[in-house]
Homo-oligomer: 279 residues x 2
């Protein structure tokens, strides 16, 4: 999966995470944060996580091509423009490679990531998952984000990159009637048809509107920390994505996300800590 | 809360995380991993997280005394003996200070941590938590770990440091009858009476037996990654601790833990990714 070919990638996501190894500085990769991935005034946190994780995957090498666990702590908001990732692989074992990365722009740190990589195709075959995927109406009966309220779309170039269809039961907030359940869910695929893979799941884990919208608290919710566990290679097709919060307190909330593929496999789980939007 | 007094701390936990700033190397703290904190062949992962987080708290300074979010990725098993934490604070803002740390022994990396610190006493007072604490029988009706099976106790010096009383409904596994629900819960306090604080909650989040015991899968479950969110200063007294898994698959499982204080406040939430014990 990792590649450093200079040819322009066919899909938007791969162009967004395109990286060039620095000719002199070992472990350093340079790229560009595109202006099509912004939401709420900054570049999407999941896209940033993928950008840094890709650099680490390149540095880890072909024996450990997929992220297994990726933890990111956000330092300052990223902007479209050049970005640098400095990586350090600290261990290459038989099954796992582990390393850390710092994503910076113009000398200012944006994100620190530590991650473990493996070959998800080589995992033990047992699946004893007891969690159940969310029941959703068919994609055609869900609501595409093009129907989102203007205040959501105007700062959300990101949404043009996605084919996101939200469960009508969880978008009352878009009509001024938040359910107050604290859950938003729907179907997800990339708008240009790129198949999902473990790297793109990092974006998916942070692609839905902040769950606080469903609590009647509009506005953007800056991410402090985001950890994603990649548990299987996703099958082609639609992903079911559901995120929820149960602990809005002290000005922060946790947002738990689950991503399921068309085979009913729970392919990724994530949790972020974010700041409650300012009233 | 952070202190570097050379006097021997009164409580075991504080002795376990005692650190001395290195006289020459800025950001470096040295300490000792005591042999009373081992479980399953290595030093407890929560204790290691607290050890590294304390070093970061000392480096961050008195304006940001409490961890808010701590993410650790485990590199190699730690052993009793000298340990060094090298810290780097990358941002000190008005509400948050953020930094990374590497815990090593004898030049070998054990754990990488990135964390954000704040003053939890200064959080917004709103509490809109919808999660509910676990219903538990009174502590006197729960089962102390001294009743644990021998194979659990023999490798678990850690348990002597804790006053852990498990809900009888979740310890069938100790009698050869695992419930298969994938949940273990009970009451927690430190055995020597030290009051809980955000730092000790890092230990608490990894103090219960691996939830895989309740799935009929005995044995130790090495932690790959552990993230803890500290959401409030805990009240004095007993903590209710409950952890569960819903996604045993591919040789890994996630373990979600919630810690509640006597005021019914959800003071910490954590998730770890661990390896399923080998049959």
């Amino acid at each position: 999966m990792p590649e450093t070919t200079p040819a322009t990638p066919a899909f938007e996501f791969d162009r967004a995470v395109a990286l060039t190894p620095h000719p002199e500085e070992a472990g350093r990769y340079d790229g560009e944060l595109g202006d099509g991935w912004q939401i709420g005034g900054g570049v999407n946190g999941g896209l940033l996580l993928a950008f840094a994780a890709r650099a680490l995957a390149l540095e880890a090498g072909p024996g450990h091509p997929h992220p297994l666990t990726v933890s990111g702590t956000y330092i300052s908001a990223s902007r479209p423009g050049p970005a640098t990732v400095r990586t350090e692989i600290v261990r290459r074992g038989r099954s796992l490679a582990t390393g850390s990365a710092v994503l910076s722009q113009g000398g200012t740190e944006r994100l620190r990531v530590t991650a473990a990589f493996t070959d998800l195709a080589g995992l033990d075959g047992e699946v004893a998952t007891t969690a159940l995927p969310p029941a959703l109406p068919a994609p055609e009966q869900c609501v595409g984000v093009e129907h989102a309220p203007r205040e959501l779309l105007s700062q959300a170039a990101l949404l043009e990159r996605l084919d996101l269809r939200l469960d009508p039961a969880t978008i009352g907030w878009a009509l001024g009637r938040p359910s107050k359940e604290g859950r938003i869910q729907g179907w997800f695929r990339l708008a240009d048809g790129r198949p999902a893979d473990p790297l793109s799941l990092l974006l998916t884990a942070d692609a839905l509107p902040p769950v606080t919208f469903d609590l009647g608290r509009p506005g953007w919710a800056p991410t402090i920390e985001l950890t994603v566990h990649l548990r299987a290679l996703p099958a082609d097709g639609w992903l079911r994505v559901s995120h929820a919060t149960r602990n809005v307190a002290g000005g922060y909330f946790e947002e738990d996300c689950e991503i399921w593929d068309e085979n009913g496999r729970l392919v990724a789980q994530s949790r972020q800590l974010a700041m409650v939007p300012r009233a």
